[in-house]
Symmetry: C2
Subunit: 407 residues, 2 copies
């Protein structure tokens, strides 16, 4: 017991320290104001039990938050109802504390209103020096949340970095702290973009071996053609996301009844987000479960949706991060609602964060990192159609060679 525990911790400490050492030129880390990487001899005492030392001295180290804008290059042009794009802007974050670095990310698809500039403006307002230890996550994240309304992705970038930091200091991945079996996760959907029949068939064939459920963006004139093109190639279960595309409830129900016959298993956001009465009617009539996406953002939105939707799509970027996502999941389950984990186009940083907390959910849409050509993190990977977290502590990521260390 003692032996193997110590063995583990040596490895773990090497991992944690190795991350920051490998990433940062020595001068950067050593020169940081308030950082005492190894000389304090007290690095973990504020986070971890003092082991009998009553009281203990006040920690002198401070957390240091930094960030860098980064543009994700999409492998393929991405089209959903109304938008096409070839790249997604993100802001990468890190929080350093006593030689340990936690990584985070804000993904900023243009239709959600946040930009790299707005994220950076928000991050500049954050003063983590007022907190003595990263372990007071509730206090820290409540403070961050109260700095300004909205800015959900910016807040998520802090939340994820803080979770990564604290998980590394404790030395375990978050799925352990949530009490979850990381392998008991739903298959992730993979989205087939709207395109010509030939391209759709070709794309579907390409991914057949890797996924066990596909997703189609519907809500436009191409819906039936798209489904038929995919169905000519595979009988795999399909999810559809209408992105508020159907405007009338009878039109939506007709379409859902047709989709049911075609082997579709769930429908996301069939109608405009505020048409809750129509959606409640549709959910009641629909043979398929109806999930809220645009209609649900944060924890406080959720209890109003019981009886309106069958379930909700939780995304870190819209709900401010892991802490609130975990609370939303538990609330939804308490309300008897289904839950799915979604994502934006984002690196393996945010995807790995999501991978910590979605075991046991009903559906998953975590293909975000698979769609980009310049993922700068190694983390959760696709295994037999499921996105599985690594065994590493925190959110389970390591920056790779694409990660620019110069910040």
């Amino acid at each position: 017991m003692q032996h193997s525990r110590r063995q583990f911790i040596k490895t773990s400490a090497a991992i944690a320290t190795g991350l920051s050492v490998a990433l940062l030129p020595a001068g950067v880390n050593a020169g940081q104001k308030g950082m005492k990487p190894s000389s304090s001899g007290n690095s973990l005492s504020s986070l971890l039990p003092a082991g009998g030392k009553a009281g203990g001295k006040a920690p002198s180290a401070k957390m240091k938050l930094s960030w860098r804008a980064y543009d994700l290059a999409l492998k393929h042009t991405f089209t959903i109802s109304g938008f096409s794009r070839k790249s997604t802007p993100v802001v990468l974050t890190k929080i350093e504390y006593e030689g340990v670095t936690g990584y985070g990310e804000a993904s900023l698809p243009p239709y959600l209103g946040e930009t790299q500039a707005s994220v950076i403006e928000f991050l500049k307002k954050i003063d983590l020096s007022r907190f003595s230890t990263p372990s007071h996550m509730e206090d820290i994240l409540t403070y961050v949340d109260n700095i300004a309304i909205n800015n959900s992705a910016a807040k998520a970038s802090v939340d994820i970095a803080l979770h990564d930091l604290v998980g590394k200091m404790i030395g375990v991945p978050w799925y352990n702290m949530y009490g979850l079996d990381k392998t008991e996760v739903p298959y992730t959907t993979f989205t087939i973009g709207i395109d010509s029949d030939d391209v759709v068939k070709e794309k579907t064939r390409e991914v057949l071996g890797d996924f066990n459920i596909l997703k189609v963006k519907v809500g436009g004139p191409d819906d039936k053609r798209m489904i038929k093109a995919i169905r000519s190639v595979t009988d795999l279960p399909l999810a559809v996301d209408a992105n508020q595309g159907w405007k009338e409830r009878l039109e939506a129900l007709d379409m859902i009844l047709w989709l049911k016959e075609e082997g579709i298993v769930m429908v996301e956001q069939p109608m405009p987000k505020l048409k809750l009465d129509d959606i409640a009617w549709l959910t009641e009539e629909s043979p398929l479960p109806i999930f809220a996406d645009e209609s649900v953002q944060r924890l406080s939105d959720l209890h109003r949706l019981k009886g309106v939707f069958s379930g909700i799509n939780i995304k870190l970027m819209k709900c401010t991060g892991m802490r609130e996502a975990w609370k939303m999941r538990n609330l939804a389950e308490a309300l008897g609602m289904k839950v799915m984990m979604g994502c934006m186009t984002e690196t393996s940083c945010a995807i790995s964060a999501a991978s910590q907390l979605y075991a046991g959910m009903d559906f998953a849409d975590l293909d975000g990192a698979l769609l980009i050509a310049n993922d700068c993190f190694d983390g959760a990977t696709l295994q037999n159609g499921k996105i599985i977290a690594t065994d590493l502590p925190g959110i389970g990521v390591v920056p790779n060679k694409l990660f620019d260390t110069n910040w």
Copy 2:
């Protein structure tokens, strides 16, 4: 960093191992079926990250659940509306896994329907050997919950022991995993029992230096006399618990208006638990916050109480333990309701478990272990009127010399 981390872990491992070694005669531990205390060299690999080893071998060790009935001797005869008693039966539990022992407890006040026999009968049905690692807490506790309805205290005794075990294996107290500052807790109330004026005044004087808020059981003919007796001695804030004692809403409101004038700050369960319409009216009219106790048991009860009560009293013994208590707290906060942490008469084992998760709540009633003469655990202590968790991992307890090790 590496140095201090290793230092910490050495101490922590010594603590964790020390607990089981000190408690159990060597023969007991070594002789347990399936236990490999130190020879496996792999004790934590199933819980903690493998440190680069992909795959890893399947763990061979099993969790072992055991229990023992124990009677808590109350320091003073305890009276609430309708009941008096001098002792409280409990069942102590432990879960052992690879040389680490987690402790739990079921407290069984007679009016709640569970007994030592019913708890033991329930515990005998549990087969933890079907789980390969304690870290899959969601799966394990869902399985335990589904064995039979009710049996909430029995379920809590497993939940608490499992949390203690997993926290010790990870090496941190649960308040760290919840992201809480363990010192930012509300003052605990201390209950002044119903008695003659002289005894009430004497008891109040005795505890004045130790507590910053007192609690009075009301709902009977002695209410005003009791409050006046206490008020002749102190101006401290008072909480009152009516235990469903007021039968009519106008009677209840009259009493609450009088109590408000006397400096009472909150009211628990003013009326019978199913009279939700009357209670909703009362909450609307009352100048004091109204908390549910008997009206709320588990997570699934909670969303119906929004708009009925101002807040809820969460007790581990009625909600099946820490996991559901944490979810209830988050749900209540999401619904905009206040939250208090309560307890039964119980040892420092269950009180310490509660102390892990109540930072930031509105009120606390955690005097349970202070009322007993034979507390067999050292754990959370009263400090300046607040019950504060220790720095030890898990739920932060150590069995003391009153703990019978022979089971």
